[in-house]
Symmetry: C2
Subunit: 363 residues, 2 copies
């Protein structure tokens, strides 16, 4: 058992493709005959330059990022972007935030330090079990941007539509569903995502931003949070998180080998369907998110009692699965099934759920 | 040759102990029977909690950090601290900066966005070839802090004394000499360092700060740059750069095995002495920094001509050494000999230098 890898349902940092880990392990002491680890490379060296350029090229190709968008590799996690976004984009001072969960709310609160921020919609009263509809959104025509979180890790909901905003740029936190499906980047002003769910390891955050939005930062914006400077220096103003970008590149290569985002999306749909179909067929388990807005990445549910939830989690660990405990804010059970979770892992989980229901359903 | 590791004299990111890389490679797919890579661990898991706590404990022990100092593991590199320091510490609005090189100057410029910053000393007119003396420093008694950069990577100089500041806290950028020698942390208000020279990989920055300096951040300070919040959350406000902290822990373990900082310092002195003694005995090579302030970490010198400098660099690569080219701001040659550079690497370099002088000295 000590040698066996387990199915890791962690919400992030989370499972990585085993091939990526094998490559990283093999190249650790000597990257492609360079005589050194990627960890040891000067970020200004030609070997590293190729690594970071290839990562950007692959990301651009996979997401079909238009030429008028910059791709930045930054540090500080999505939480740092919660500050950087208003500091860079509040050119006239107002923005609309849609609150669909914990992280959208944090982003909103942070933005209120820097401008006149309004809540354009919220499902807090329904415990964030769904996404507001287009009709429910109260959007200002003159806002600098509309902010949303495309997938809500804690609650297990996901936006299934891109809102109409009458030309106001949409800023989207895609930390937990970037690269899980095809998107049309041109519908957004700015997309950002921490890497530690679908793209790699904690420590690098990708920002994809339309060029015309740059250059309007507030006075006092820290240099490292200034998108214009980061874009001008191609994410090399200072030493970037070199190894995290290397792992990102390996993950992007792996996605290419899977057949790109169409193939990844189809597989993610099959994985989620297996789990949701079983949840819907069961009277023992209760899914947390409303059907129309269910996330393909984070599946949230509970058993009939808190005690059984806890038993489920402890038994699942013995069955070779980890991190199925729901977030402390909502309890219950959460299965995060990002790109790197194989179908086999979901099948293993569903089989376990069935057996658990059979054993404990009569209590 | 493709399998052979080379002597990497890069100024940062830089050489790591081979033992650290071997351990990282071996644990890549399955960390101590956990069934997963450290890269894949939830930062809230008990396995990861032990990794980050152990890293902090080891750092505290090695540097003998007093209990009234907080240790933070942050992102964004030293450059992010150039903003965070004034935003957190300018409680009355003024600070004194000593300019001893490129990075001290960047820190100074960034700070001027946030308060009344004065230059307390500069050796720019002497091309930063030395450190100002205590007598040259013009320090205000009522400044919030005095800022210095303890080792100047580009110019090859290093502070050999801790200035008297009449109780004004000293803030020191130790990115390129932390853990290279023993220091008395209590002489500083705040010490910070990017990890990618002596501590690990790019992507984690250590901040060691005296508790009484916290809680005075300027309005508008981004949450992620607010030391008080990071301290209250023990660097876990959001997902920290988990893998970079793991590597930091492995490097700290390695330092312990070397005998701690006294042993490391003695070895660093021997390594530098070998190189400087040869430089001083040669009429071919010219050392760049003034003798009394020479860095033990970055040894800067040149040959009689730019052409020979370039030839030196290209020949050194063939001889199994990399990154000996001086920084573009000063030219010449620079050998960065951080903790992980073995004595054997310096001996190899000196032997190469002698042969190069013998061949090209007559030109």
């Amino acid at each position: 058992m000590a040698d066996k890898r387990i199915f890791n349902f962690s919400a992030g940092p989370s499972m990585l493709p085993e091939e990526v880990l094998r490559t990283a392990s093999e190249q650790m002491l000597n990257y492609k005959g360079s005589g050194m680890s990627v960890m040891e490379m000067s970020h200004r060296s030609s070997a590293y330059d190729q690594i970071i350029k290839e990562a950007q090229r692959r990301l651009r190709a996979l997401l079909q990022i238009p030429d008028n968008y910059k791709v930045l590799f930054l540090q500080g996690g999505a939480s740092t972007q919660f500050s950087a976004i208003p500091m860079n984009l509040l050119r006239s001072g107002s923005a609309d935030y849609v609150i669909t969960g914990h992280f959208a709310n944090l982003a909103y609160k942070e933005a209120t330090k820097y401008g006149a921020i309004q809540v354009a919609g919220s499902t807090q009263e329904e415990n964030f079990s769904r996404i507001p509809t287009q009709e429910e959104l109260q959007l200002r025509k003159d806002a600098d941007y509309v902010y949303l979180c495309s997938n809500n890790t804690i609650y297990g909901t996901q936006w299934k539509y891109v809102p109409q905003t009458q030309g106001v740029p949409i800023v989207a936190d895609m930390s937990s569903d970037i690269l899980s499906r095809t998107i049309d980047v041109s519908q957004y002003g700015l997309i950002f995502a921490g890497a530690q769910k679908n793209m790699g390891i904690a420590g690098v955050t990708v920002v994809i931003v339309r060029e015309d939005l740059l250059g309007f930062q507030l006075a006092g914006t820290p240099t490292m949070l200034n998108y214009q400077i980061m874009a001008d220096k191609d994410s090399m103003y200072n030493t970037p998180p070199t190894y995290a970008i290397y792992i990102l590149g390996l993950v992007l290569e792996w996605i290419e080998r899977q057949g790109g985002l169409e193939a990844i999306e189809a597989r993610n749909e099959r994985k989620a369907k297996l789990l949701y179909d079983y949840l819907d067929s069961s009277t023992f388990y209760q899914a947390a998110a409303q059907k129309q807005d269910r996330s393909l990445m984070n599946v949230t549910f509970c058993t009939p009692s808190k005690e059984l939830d806890a038993l489920f989690v402890s038994e699942s660990i013995k069955a070779g699965m980890s991190n199925l405990k729901g977030h402390r804010a909502v309890g219950g059970i959460r299965a995060s099934i990002y790109n790197a979770m194989p179908m086999e892992g979901v099948e293993h989980l569903v089989a376990f759920m069935k057996a658990f229901e059979a054993t404990n359903g009569g209590r």
